[in-house]
Symmetry: C2
Subunit: 360 residues, 2 copies
Amino acid sequence: MTGEEDVVDPADRNAGKEREMVRDRPTVRDVAKVAGVSFKTVSRVINGERGVRPETAERVMAAVRDLGFRRNVIAADFARGGSRNQIGLVIDDISNPFWARLTRAIEDVAVANGRQVIIASSDFEPAREHRIIESLIAQRLGGLLIVPVGRDHSYLASEMELGTAIVFIDRPQGNLSADSITFDDYGGARAAVEHLVAHGHRRIAMLAQSLTIYTMTERYRGYRDALAGADIAFEPRLEAHVDTAEGARAATLELLTTDPAPTALFCANNRMTVGAVSALGAVSALGAAQRRVALVGFDDIELADALAMPLTVVRADAAELGRTGADLLLRRMAGWDAPPQQTVLPTTLVQRGSGEISPG
Amino acid sequence: MTGEEDVVDPADRNAGKEREMVRDRPTVRDVAKVAGVSFKTVSRVINGERGVRPETAERVMAAVRDLGFRRNVIAADFARGGSRNQIGLVIDDISNPFWARLTRAIEDVAVANGRQVIIASSDFEPAREHRIIESLIAQRLGGLLIVPVGRDHSYLASEMELGTAIVFIDRPQGNLSADSITFDDYGGARAAVEHLVAHGHRRIAMLAQSLTIYTMTERYRGYRDALAGADIAFEPRLEAHVDTAEGARAATLELLTTDPAPTALFCANNRMTVGAVSALGAVSALGAAQRRVALVGFDDIELADALAMPLTVVRADAAELGRTGADLLLRRMAGWDAPPQQTVLPTTLVQRGSGEISPG
DNA sequence: CAACATGATGACACCGTTGTCAATACGTCG
DNA sequence: CGACGTATTGACAACGGTGTCATCATGTTG
């Protein structure tokens, strides 16, 4: 009995037990029978279509209540050829507060219009993004909001022709004619670094994620141009590229050991800022000397004003981006067919102290 | 021509243009025709079912590629009686970092199992929660993870009997036999307040959201019992209930004016903590006297160690809650039918400084 | 070699709505 | 009073897959 009498993959063994979808819910036909009308009339009532006598509608409603009927949305969407009421949202990572705020703003707009939001995190991986988008498209949903990672979205062209509304947010699409809404990344970054220059800094380090990401290249351009505009020679050693806040923390500690050390730091997004702030806090715990590194971050963060060193940032309003994007998407879904638009939202420099520290 | 020749609601005017779902996508039948097989065989191939000769499968795959066929998930879900691959998540507010982290953990588990996540924020409103859940149920999706707000979920009983898996997380359901996973809110809160007591505090204020929320009543119980255990008379004036971080900020400033002022503050969740920290920061900017209010918060927050006063917190691991909940839900969806379980996850006191300040 | 298990494929019903069009009843108008 | 628009209702065909069962070819076994 210890032989291999029944060699099955444990997953398969479970497969048979897979909870199957039960079918005994009341349908429009059941309701119709109780109400003494045709099922089409029931369909009219539950969809609020006009052309049903009030007393008939009342009878139907009563039957709906009695039976506990719930409209089968999947069947309805199927009959209509797609889901009007779901919009897909592809972002880098929902646990990043910036995207969380954006998501909430989008959800608010969606809910106000009777829609639901399906979210998916791409984790900066073009392959994963592609998989996610394919999967969302297969859902035949009404619209898609995408924070793109990949460089080629031409595979979406046919889908858009078939009527799927797609709006790219925060970063522009690649190889595709579509709407996009972005921030003035270049301008914001340049203003941030020029602000540091204006306070006398000439050794300004930059912390960024990989330059394969559009926003990063733009902010990097802003950084380089601000330096060049002040006749400051660019120093590769003052530039670090990491993926996570934890990485940024380590990179900051590393940067501070270069000789001569940078007197200021520009962080290209909120992950970089969190890592840098955390590192500077640790340093200041050791000796107060290096605490006086000036810091400007891109993206605002919560409690920026309660930090040991209140944080100066370039604020990019995630909620506004979300609202604007969702509004545009809904307008497209409603059939608006003007040529694709490229909208650029402004950023604001918020001075709180960390960016106004002088060198030395 | 200025007459009212055409009085229509602008919304209606647009309605006619509503982008209709286009139907000219290739279907299994189109693929079948090209590949010279029956549409059922195509269905077999795209679902990876066994029992198709490799060369036949190859012909089908080629046709799929040529035509750009994409499986219509809505039709498939419909035929099967429901969606296996979407799970619904109902939380208070996705923009709260705690829920954002939870969501990410859930998404990771979902994606690893080929599922998508639909999120919806209840905003602490039972009515909105009910609407959202009804709407998710209508989608006939495979499972539901709910952070409940309402006190009565008996309306879900019939749904669960029909096979929808439901797991309640962070807070228990009301009037319904179902799985729940919560934190040890009482124990965590009690430990936090006892920690303050141990450092000599006797005037300990509490900042919480409305006690209609389960976690708040539990943490409040912990607070009261910790006080009682130390023979400290409860003072209603040291208790404040607000909804938002902004409200918590104002309430903290208010609390500090009571005479005698509290020497310590327990914040019942991350929103309260953010508000309090922000307020204490402002106070310390004025005069350093009141800065020495001890503070322990429930829930960890980002950069807690980089604050002007590094924050002591009761950590409740949102990611663990999410993973545990999603795992359980998937097991239920797979047909596991053990009796409902009430799981309680532990919390940890993380000492960083703000909770170890002595009074006076 | 007959009987039979197995593998590959096809025919066809079915899921629960929506959309289209026909049928019927009713009121109005010439 | 008959023709005709209008309001109400019903009959029925989609929609694009999945599931069930039948069919046929191909070994396989005693």
